[in-house]
Amino acid sequence: MAIETQYQGIRDGAGPGVGDFIALMKPRVMSLVVFTALVGMMAAPGGLHPVLGFIALLCITVGAGASGALNMWYDADIDRHMARTAARPIPRGVVTAEEALTFGTVLSVTSVLTLGVLVNWVAGGLLALTIGFYIFIYTMWLKRRTPQNIVIGGAAGAFPPMIGWAAVTGGVSVESIVLFLIIFMWTPPHFWALALYRCRDYERVGVPMLPVVAGPDETRRQIVIYSILLIPVGISPYFIGLGGISYLVTSSVLGAVFLWLAFKVYRTREGREADRIAKQLFVFSIFYLFALFAVLLGEKIAEWLVALGAFKAIFA
């Protein structure tokens, strides 16, 4: 490719900075990945040396960021036409598509191999599966073909706590599958709430999000259905011994609020108010997921502190 073409669109004197490559890794998505993977690691039985724990978390984070970069490489053509994504590094012209592809590929391979060699291959394999699922199944195959794109593609975002769990235990168990299911069931109402008020963007670029294909009313119905399914899944860690009483209370109360907001979205269908409530559900859904995992983490830390207190009392 000619140099002139390769660097077309690059602003004068404004080459890519470190910040542009960080933006390529979708830092907001990455922060949720780090957090849920950390909870998966902390909630798992047994222990992992802190150094290996840090390496595992770093690999999961970098792997997630790498898949974000590969997603931006593949979606650059539609990103430049959507308000939410037009300022990403490739559409803005500060990073070339080739740079994003190389960056994403190198980091993907490195993170999987490092996690596999230094921690264990179950975790490494799951990370490879996550990256592959996000890029090949979601980004390249489902996203532009079916309104079920985020339902199935949501699995990619649901794997991190499972990888964290596998890093510690070396395997997959009911508990880690439940953590996976919480995020898996949470993804559709979360993204459809966003799609409701970003509908025109998706329509313009031909991405068949549910509101574009089936209309906003059907989307509202599906949000309610998935919210009803999400609530029991959200509470279930208590019943398998993964969460304690504070988890039961938090997940029940927040689940009720989630459902109430979902019904509010269902009932309010016209004008700015409809957009406002959809946005409200979108923002709350992030808080809901964060809070559920934070309580699991908090309970685990409290358990350790109690155990530490008992240990000190015995040996004092």
Partner: protein, 56 residues
């Protein structure tokens, strides 16, 4: 005149390419450095006390 402008453009593109190459080299160096540290630390952790456990 047009030739001059083309030359200027070419110089700008070359400068941009050199800048990107330099950034890439630094990033690769930093990345390799981080990998060395990670593999070293993980090896020490895996060896644990066994590193000193040598029969005389």
């Amino acid at each position: 005149m047009a030739n001059n402008a083309g030359h200027e453009q070419q110089k700008k593109v070359e400068a941009e390419r050199a800048k990107r190459q330099r950034l890439r080299s630094i990033a690769i160096a930093v990345g390799l450095g981080v990998l060395v540290v990670l593999f070293y630390a993980a090896t020490i952790v895996h060896l644990g006390g066994n590193a000193l456990n040598r029969p005389m």
